[in-house]
């Protein structure tokens, strides 16, 4: 048995007296598509920030493919093969779409911090950039400044930057938030295609998306995971219904 792609052990995080994440244990196997759901303020984004290295845990550990990564700075975690997107579009607004993706590609192709060669000199970088643009259907907008993109395309670009580095564990934070139905369908297709053969962890409010995509779902309520099971079981779990599905209508299309 190989080590799980991601493993959280007794993970806790508090800000002053407020305990946001409370003793979370979770193993995500390689190749799994795992969704995390929960009401607003349950700590989903905090959990992502803990995994990706933005926050240091108050106690407990995070391991990536068996290597301990809690306390490691985000850029090093990224180099170890974990990449993430953000809930709010977090792109390089003053650059074109192509330059955005190219920045995402650079490190994985060994460009480092080099300042002695042109960014266009590496054929591999150009090709990989094009491949990612094509994959995310952004080729025709390649030379548009990112800030001028329509919202749905900005979200697609967000995913494009996330996958550009070729990470094998991908964290997506509400990738379809604020999208229309047709845009959501397109995004789901993109996510499905991008996560083939990779491990995907996704936070999402749109239950349609979740039950469509996920192999397994974890329910986070007040910083604790109250259930972690395949979609069919989650639907019938009375604890989940009470804590989450029961007292709130299925929150479709909340921003």
């Amino acid at each position: 048995m190989t080590a799980p792609a991601l493993s959280l052990k007794n993970l806790s995080k508090s800000f002053g007296p407020a305990q946001i994440i409370n003793d979370v244990n979770l193993d995500i196997a390689k190749g799994e598509r795992h969704a995390i759901i929960g009401p607003n303020g349950a700590g989903k984004s905090t959990l992502f920030n803990l995994i990706s290295g933005l926050y240091t845990p108050t106690s407990g550990t995070v391991s990536l493919n068996g290597t301990l990564i809690s306390g490691v700075p985000p850029h090093e975690i990224n180099r170890m093969g974990l990449s993430r997107s953000f809930q709010v579009s977090n792109i390089f607004a003053n650059m074109t779409v192509r330059e955005n993706v190219r920045c995402g590609v650079l490190h994985s192709l060994g460009q480092g911090y080099s300042f002695w060669k042109s960014v266009t000199s590496s054929k591999a970088v150009q090709e990989k950039t094009f491949e990612v643009l094509e994959h995310c259907a952004l080729v025709d907008k390649a030379n548009t400044p990112a800030a001028l993109l329509p919202y749905a395309d900005q979200r697609a670009l967000e995913i494009a930057i996330t996958i550009a580095g070729g990470a094998n564990v991908i964290l997506l934070d509400e990738p379809t938030a604020g999208m229309s139905h047709s845009e959501t369908d397109r995004a789901v297709e993109l996510i499905r295609k991008s996560s083939e053969g990779k491990t995907l962890v996704i936070v999402e409010h749109d239950m349609g998306v979740i039950f469509d995509l996920a192999d397994r779902i974890s329910v986070l309520v007040y910083g604790e995971i109250i259930a972690s099971a395949p979609p069919s079981e989650i639907r019938g779990d009375p604890k989940v219904r009470e804590a989450y599905l029961g007292d709130e209508a299925l929150p479709e299309e909340t921003a």
Partner: protein, 422 residues
Amino acid sequence: MSDATQNHADLAPSTGAKFRQRTLPILIFVAIILAIPMTDPSRTMLTLIHQMAINIVFALAYNMLLGKGGMLSFGHAVYFGLGGYFCMHVMNWIEEGSGIWGSYPTFFLPVMGFVAGGLAAAVIGSFSCRRAGTTFAMISLGVAELVFSGAFMFDSLFGGEQGINGDRMNGPEVFGLSMGPMQDIYWFMAFWTVVGIVAMYAFTRTPLGRLSEATRDNPQRVQFIGYNPTRVRWLVFTISGAFAGLAGGMSAVNYEIFTPEALSLIPSGFVLIMAYVGGITYFAGPIMGAILLTYMSSMMSDFTEAWLLYLGLMFVIIVMYAPRGIAGIVFGFWDGLRGAQSGEFLKRTLIQLAGCLLMLLGLIVLVEVSIRWSNGWGEVFEPYGMHFGHDSILTWIVIVVPIVAGAAILRYLGREKEEMPA
């Protein structure tokens, strides 16, 4: 070859566009440099051009930080100065012929400035780049004060108030230049300015150059594409310091003296103003700013003692109304002329210009009259044979009327624009 390679080339700008945007401006610049000596410029003119050359390189180096890296420094003259000081020492070693230095050509002194400026920036940047944004700005100011005050404690390195001087006419000749006459120095300046501009433009096209822009826009995201923003900042800071040192080396050869004043907050502030007034969002902006402000500082200080006040006013007005600087105004004007409603645009611009000139007129009279009144030597502002005494009502009419009229015109234009449907 697969389809992909065919296609990715299509995304890049065409060869023609590349030539127009990148090669052509450099060729024009080189042509101007080659043409200047043919006009047989006076000594004054050459002195001015040499100062411009130094400032162009310095302002571009500064903009690597501010424009491309988003790091506002109030103390970049430190690296200019340290680079220059090191060159002064090397110049003296060349004269003494000590060790290998005896065979080092003065022509290549700016390389030494580059190394010294880069080293100093690497050391200082190792702690100052830990913070970004306004904190970095405050730190840069504190560090600059420390270096400036410290310089007075080590006379053997900085020469105290008198500074360190040297003689550039030693060492082996290169390109047949004895480095003595102004004309020789002209070619020296031309060479290093072109080298500096080309190298700094090339830098913007490297992976680090791109990452520097990415870090400016969004340091958090940079972490999640595998880069450490602090390290990006530190590298950019080091390289910017190195080019500032290069400019310092040019200055050392030009003036053959360096004093601790070169490290102070005054040149640091001036380079910030040059880059910003020129336009930090354009590569060419700082070049324009350096040329314009060098010209103004040498010409206007002869005409008026209040030149620093005009400089400050210009800076504040640019910050408030034209944050993209002179380059933004020039390129905006050019785009407007080529736009659909060029006639309408031209009319608007001319009215706007008239409004600005009116306000400027009133302001100049106000400043010039006040300054003479305040000096108390009974001197009177008398441009073109007119007589503006501070005690005559006419003077105050000439001050108030244009300012009010100009302001009214600009306000009217602003209103009209708001009412126009977008």
